[in-house]
């Protein structure tokens, strides 16, 4: 096996992923969320009462940079897991259903490498999706509203440059948050040849995890749910930044990646690829 082969495979995987009409449709839908929020706030005559609606909705009129944060808060529970579930659930099952998995494995790529490349593709999509929401939000806010120093949750004010850095950190945080879900999608995808089934199962799991996270009776379970820290990115909007949730989140997602990855490898290496 040549070492360059994995990179070539990754390159072609990314190319296929980001050339797909479906990927573009999902990214455009995600980009529309902040634009919708910004336009709705701009057109409404009444100012939003503080403390109502998603985080920072009332501050958007004062500072356009909050559009990105508000949009991310709106997207994290459903829209982002939805799109990530589609991409991650499609990884292996999609190839299997199209009958292309056989050809991918005919090339001397090895199953581990194929899994890794598929997972890397899903992770790349996680980042692309998060960055799309953040960038489109920043752009919509910049066009429609005045932009100035940003107020953090702690009441301190930071400059526009610093807020760009924090937005990047938030995008990184959310990408990390979605790693566990992507690994679950990859695992489910190795069990079936029906991509829609794997996608639906992944999305359902993300909803179930969030529902469980809201039941106080299951408090002992909460720290182990992959969605537990999803909204923890608010900690990056404090002064000074609280890194605790970033670290805990990364550790938790790494655990999910390891367990699901190992299971996916076991299943995939035993899988009979007939089609």
């Amino acid at each position: 096996m040549r070492p360059g082969l994995g990179w070539a495979l990754l390159g072609s995987e990314l190319l296929v992923l980001f050339r797909r009409l479906r990927t573009w449709a999902m990214l455009i839908a995600l980009a529309a969320v902040p634009i919708l929020i910004a336009v709705a706030v701009k057109l409404s005559s009444r100012p939003t009462a503080p403390g109502r609606g998603p985080l920072f909705l009332d501050r958007i009129t004062q500072n356009g940079l909050f559009v990105a944060v508000t949009a991310l808060v709106v997207c994290v529970p459903l829209f982002l897991p939805l799109t990530v579930g589609v991409v991650a659930g499609d990884t292996i099952a999609g190839e299997a259903s199209l009958g292309t998995l056989r050809y991918l494995l005919l090339a001397p790529a090895g199953r581990i490498r194929l899994l890794l490349v598929k997972y890397a593709g899903a992770v790349a999509f996680c980042f692309a999706a998060t960055a799309t929401v953040a960038a489109s939000g920043a752009l919509a806010g910049f066009v429609l509203f005045p932009v100035g120093p940003v107020t953090l949750l702690s009441g301190d004010t930071i400059s526009v440059g610093e807020s760009a850095w924090r937005s990047l950190l938030i995008a990184a945080y959310i990408t990390v948050s979605l790693l566990g879900l992507s690994a679950i999608g990859l695992l489910i995808s190795t069990f079936t040849d029906v991509p829609v089934g794997a996608m639906a199962a992944t999305i359902v799991l993300s909803v179930v995890s969030q529902v469980l996270d809201n039941l106080p009776q299951l408090e002992w379970l909460h720290p182990w749910l992959f969605s537990h820290h999803w909204l923890g990115f608010a900690d990056l909007l404090r002064q000074p930044i609280s890194w605790t949730s970033f670290g805990e989140n990364a550790l938790l997602q790494a655990g999910y990646m390891a367990v699901c990855g190992a299971l996916a490898y076991a299943k995939f290496s035993n899988k009979d690829v007939l089609s």
Binding site: V73, S154, R238, A262, Y265
Partner: protein
């Protein structure tokens, strides 16, 4: 077939290894540490001698008083009775920054929100990110020299730290309290001596209070209050992270953000408040806005009956805040009893009579009722 089975091996071993790592980590965290033995008096003296004047840390508060969990109201920067009740349920995390006797900052980390208390000399700011409101309390300047400036009381008393809470319990140690030393452990990565206060009285709801003291600096790092007949601590306040270096001075300079609603309040010069002997109810520690102007007028006429742990604090008629009846969350937590309503928890009871008198104490409700009847 064996080959297929071998492929499942890593998939099974990995979760197993992770589980072991998690269990091992949990055991490590709770492991006892060996420290040179110290007597209870030595530990108390160590707390009194502590020279920690600056710190930044994360404090976690857990209340398991048996009250239904209330949704965090978070409304209004200066907390009222409803938010005092909020701190008696569930768990809260806050970051604490202290620099010297006059500068402190408390950040209550709510989900997607934050409440801040910034104390800098004679200025105090309360900020609530949820409704973007700020309240500015100023203590008139002449009052500052009157207090002995080097006393560390000012911010650390206002900010609910394990240190402040331990101080109140230690101040209340008397003949009615048995003080022993428990096994040393570790809190926030520091090895700690553990001081155990056991009330000798059988009347009180308090089973024991444990105070964990940093073995190096003498700073109290964790306070746990156990209630009778309850395995889990009823109330605990502990550092989860602690750094004894000086925090960034910029943290104590607060300017309200643009667009925030700012309320200005001037605190009148405080008369020396009568301090009820006996340990105060935990809510007093947990209320960041304890120095609000309304307090002083209300604390006149406060009487304390009983002694030490089973003391009952009585407030005269008309002192019950209107919030007790108007706030639906609060009235839900109150149960009707003869002649009024009561809040009973595993650690403290509050009796609000229909004529407005309020009785409170870390005692069963019956004792409050008999104290009220004796009047």
């Amino acid at each position: 077939m064996t080959r297929a089975r071998r492929r499942w091996l890593p998939a099974l071993l990995l979760p197993f290894a992770l589980a072991i790592a998690v269990v091992f980590g949990a055991v490590q965290a709770g492991a006892s540490v060996s420290l040179p033995p110290k007597s209870a008096e030595e530990i108390v003296a160590m707390i009194a001698r502590t020279e920690v004047r600056a710190l930044s840390g994360t404090v976690e508060q857990d209340a398991g008083l048996g009250l239904p969990e209330l949704p965090a109201s978070g409304q209004g920067a200066v907390p009222g009775a409803a938010s005092a009740l909020e701190f008696l349920t569930g768990s809260h995390t806050a970051r604490v920054y202290v620099d010297g006797p006059l500068k402190a900052r408390l950040q209550i980390l709510d989900q997607m929100a934050e409440r801040d208390v910034v104390i800098n000399g004679g200025d105090a700011w309360f900020y609530n990110s949820q409704d973007n409101s700020a309240t500015h309390l100023t203590v008139p300047a002449p009052e500052m020299p009157a207090q002995n400036i080097p006393t560390p009381e000012m911010p650390t008393q206002e900010i609910p730290t394990p240190e402040a809470m331990a101080g109140r319990f230690l101040a209340a140690i008397d003949a009615g309290t048995e003080v022993t030393v428990a096994e040393a452990s570790s809190v926030a990565g520091q090895s700690v001596y553990s001081l155990l206060l056991n009330p000798r009285s059988t009347e009180t709801l308090v089973d024991s209070v444990s105070i964990d003291v940093d073995s190096e600096t003498g700073l109290p790092l964790r306070v746990e209050v156990r209630a009778k007949g309850q395995a889990e601590p009823a109330y605990s306040l502990a550092y989860t992270q602690l750094d004894l270096s000086r925090p960034d001075p910029a943290l104590f300079a607060f300017t309200p953000p643009q667009g925030a609603t700012v309320t200005e309040k001037v605190v009148p010069a405080k008369p020396d408040r009568p301090t009820p002997d006996g340990p105060p109810a935990p809510e007093a520690q947990a209320t960041p806005g304890h120095g609000s102007p309304g307090d002083d007028s209300r604390s006149h006429g406060v009487t304390v009956t009983g002694h030490g742990w089973d003391s009952v604090i009585a407030l005269p008629a008309g002192s019950a805040p209107a919030e007790f009846t108007s706030n639906p969350q609060l009235s839900q937590a109150l149960q009707p009893v003869d002649g009024g309503r009561a809040l009973t928890t595993s650690l403290l009871s509050v009796l609000i009579l229909d004529d407005g008198r309020v009785y409170a104490g870390m005692v069963p409700l019956e004792r409050l009722q008999s104290a009220a009847a004796a009047r």
